[in-house]
């Protein structure tokens, strides 16, 4: 497998992990709205369903993108595909 193919393989792997986390917090948990509401786990005292829609999922998305960007930069570095500063 060529260098570029390996790079793409890893990139694709990272994409699947990122999309899986994204799926859980944008779609998965909202299949269980009623269960979240009844849950005893209440972040900062808010009902869980309410919290996830107004802060929880939103904040996780922000962190997820920065995490993804860091991982992708590592992959690019590993295969020497990082851009030159003066590019």
């Amino acid at each position: 497998m060529s260098k570029q193919e390996q790079h793409w393989e890893k990139t694709r792997g990272l994409l699947f992990v990122t999309l899986a986390i994204w799926f859980v917090f944008s779609i998965g948990i909202f299949l269980f709205g009623a269960e979240m509401e009844a849950s005893n786990f209440r972040p900062l005292g808010y009902p869980l369903s309410y919290y996830m829609t107004c802060q929880g999922s939103l904040g996780i998305f922000v962190i997820l993108i920065f995490w993804f960007a860091n991982r992708q930069e590592k992959i690019d570095e590993e295969f020497g595909y990082t851009e030159k500063e003066d590019d």
């Binding site: 570029q4 790079h7 793409w8 990139t11 990272l14 994409l15 990122t18 999309l19 994204w22 917090f25 944008s26 779609i27 909202f30 299949l31 269980f32 709205g33 009623a34 979240m36 509401e37 209440r42 900062l44 005292g45 808010y46 009902p47 369903s49 309410y50 829609t53 107004c54 802060q55 999922s57 939103l58 904040g59 998305f61 922000v62 997820l64 993108i65 920065f66 993804f68 960007a69 992708q72 930069e73 690019d76 295969f79 020497g80 595909y81 990082t82 851009e83 030159k84 590019d87």
Partner: protein
């Protein structure tokens, strides 16, 4: 004071700007104490901020193609994040979102999840790759990746339908705010709004829009956060509302059951007397009030739509590198998060201050005559945003007898909570900034696609730079006027048409864009089929539901993009596989796009 290149001094320039704006707010507050009229304060706020945007727009004028189309590709990561946040958060986000949450609760918050979750798709599937490609516009990518004028024209078509639906709503919002703040008729205010929008974008294209959007973000975020924090502290609800309103949310639920929410229903005859556009509280504040499918389908449409709307995507063409494009998406979402996470808090504070009899601002349970005598009630009643009526004739205002317009949550809450008028002026300036920044991005997206992809790439490929830039500017003015003319007709509501824009964009562009990067086998025939069939099926379904047809799979007029995008995916895959694979050059081009280093696929000037 400032030496060297503008780009190197950005933190300093915008730091001074922010400080200056805060000083301006303080000056206005002093003027208010000294007896300046509310109307004059409103005029000052709007005129001062719009004036600054105009100056920035003028200073950023340019005669260079890559400055006009992609701001010279030198917008730093964090500043591009701010500009994208302003580009993204429209008048609807600013003025209507808190109201939507106030009235519809959990079911509406699918929009919050969708409008933020979409950025994960932007960062992981598209933005860095499109930046590497080096295109000027979104159809530029489609046209070059798939090859052929048909693909390019189809992309221009989808882009125009989606963005134009969106832009009329934004010009409408600018007009609404300008007409209230400057006290002029809506029909004229729309054109005042348009003039401000064009001043920011015409001379400098993307470069001017970028630097005005950063300025607009600063105004709109101050205007949104300051009242939320102030009200929360004034009510004693908590120093940092986002983390401390759990008791208030619980208190609202308690009051809802005490006031008989859901048990006392208004008769149709009573409701007919309520002015159009106003609503009462009929849904519980924090309860799960919708089915999982309704919630998820709406969120999915907004997410896929986010990843297909060209005015957002083209912001990531302006960063210096692929790496910074990727990071910039994270910053964009962070800046958006600051406002979106505050909207539910504003809705909570607003509702509690009206409902709680223990607070001096509470009106439910007071006598009708007393409420009708309150100053702010009279003002907002006159503005057609508030209404009370004693349906049961007991002389007391019940929860089901109070009606409000969605916009009032953002616009009227500062006044209800007893904040000085200077805050209301600030909120008007913020709403104007939000609507203008989005309208700028949209008008530019449409005009650039028409001038670059239709005029230069297809009609007159030999046109010189000067001529191309003149055509781009003439188109900008034409699109702006067309949008304003339709906005002046007031055919549709602001929020409804915004949601439609997302559905149109996802129907036609989501899969052709994503598969262009992630599936080498995708070819021109497939992409054209995907765009045209997706758009056609989406539009057909919208008309089908609007004209009373039975919904398929519970998909409503707000989520028609589900059918559109599905049709787009299926037709794109089937047609691609049934026709010839893309040639070796195209395959190599896709390989190039997939790595950050090396030259862009399209040259610096093209």
């Amino acid at each position: 004071m400032i030496k060297g290149k503008f780009i190197d001094n950005l933190p300093k320039v915008y730091g001074i700007y922010t400080g200056g704006f805060l000083v301006f707010i303080i000056l206005m507050a002093i003027a208010e104490q000294a007896g300046m009229s509310a109307k004059l304060i409103g005029i000052f706020f709007v005129a001062f901020t719009v004036g600054i945007y105009a100056i920035i727009g003028y200073l950023s004028r340019t005669l260079q193609l890559d400055a006009y189309y992609v701001a010279g590709r030198q917008v730093p990561t964090v500043f591009n994040g701010m500009a994208t946040a302003a580009d993204w958060m429209s008048g609807a986000s600013f003025v209507a979102m808190a109201g939507g949450i106030y009235f519809k609760g959990y079911g509406y918050m699918a929009l919050l999840v969708g409008w933020t979750g979409g950025y994960v798709l932007v960062a992981s599937l598209l933005a860095p790759y499109l930046r590497k490609f080096g295109c000027y516009t979104v159809p530029d990518f489609i046209g070059t990746r798939y090859g052929g004028n048909l693909a390019r024209v189809s992309a221009v078509l989808v882009l125009t339908v989606a963005s134009f639906t969106y832009v009329t709503a934004q010009i409408n919002a600018t007009g609404t705010i300008a007409s209230v703040a400057l006290d002029i008729p809506f029909g004229i205010a729309v054109y005042v709004g348009l003039a401000s929008i064009l001043i920011c974008s015409m001379l400098g294209g993307m470069r001017a829009v970028t630097w005005t959007q950063v300025a607009q973000y600063i105004v709109l975020i101050i205007a949104y956060l300051l009242p939320v924090f102030w009200i929360s502290n004034k009510m004693g609800a908590g120093f940092f509302p986002h983390f401390m309103l759990a008791d208030e949310v619980a208190r609202i639920a308690e009051l809802e059951s005490q006031f008989g929410l859901g048990t006392v229903k208004n008769s149709a005859a009573d409701l007919a007397t309520v002015p159009k556009g106003l609503a009462g509280i009929t849904k519980a504040h924090s309860e799960v009030n919708t089915t999982p499918w309704k919630f998820i389908s709406l969120a999915v449409c907004m997410m896929a739509g986010t990843a297909s709307l060209p005015h957002v995507m083209m912001r990531y063409f302006t960063t210096p590198s692929v790496k910074s494009a990727r990071r910039s998406v994270g910053w964009s979402l962070f800046f958006i998060f600051l406002l979106y996470s505050s909207a539910p808090m504003l809705a909570t504070l607003s509702k509690l201050s009206l409902m709680d009899p223990n607070l001096t601002t509470g009106i439910i349970g007071k006598s009708i005559a007393e409420v009708q005598n309150i100053d702010w009630y009279q003002n907002w009643n006159q503005a057609n945003l508030m209404f009370v009526s004693d349906f049961n004739g007991n002389g007391t205002l019940e929860l089901n007898e109070f009606f409000m317009g969605g916009k009032a949550v953002v616009l009227a809450t500062p006044e209800i909570a007893g904040l000085p008028y200077v805050i209301s002026g600030l909120v008007a300036a913020g709403g104007m900034a939000a609507a203008m920044s989005t309208a700028d991005g949209l008008v530019l997206a449409i005009a650039n696609a028409l001038s670059h992809d239709l005029y230069y790439k297809i009609i007159d490929p030999k046109a010189e730079t000067a001529k191309r830039l003149i055509v781009a500017r003439v188109l900008l003015v034409i699109i702006g006027f067309a949008g304003a003319t339709i906005a002046a007709l007031e055919i549709q509501g602001i929020l409804g048409s915004v949601i439609w824009a997302f559905d149109f964009a996802m129907s036609g562009l989501f899969f052709p864009l994503v598969l262009g990067v992630w599936w080498k086998r995708a070819n021109a025939q497939g992409a054209v089929a995907g765009m045209l069939i997706g758009l056609a099926v989406g539009t057909w379904y919208l008309i089908h539901v609007r004209t009373g047809g039975t919904p398929i799979w519970g998909v409503t007029q707000l989520t028609f993009g589900i059918h559109g995008a599905l049709a787009s995916l299926v037709s794109m895959v089937v047609v691609s596989l049934a026709t010839k694979a893309p040639d070796a050059a195209t395959q190599k081009m896709v390989d190039e796009v997939r790595i950050p280093s090396g030259r862009t696929v399209l040259g610096k000037q093209h």
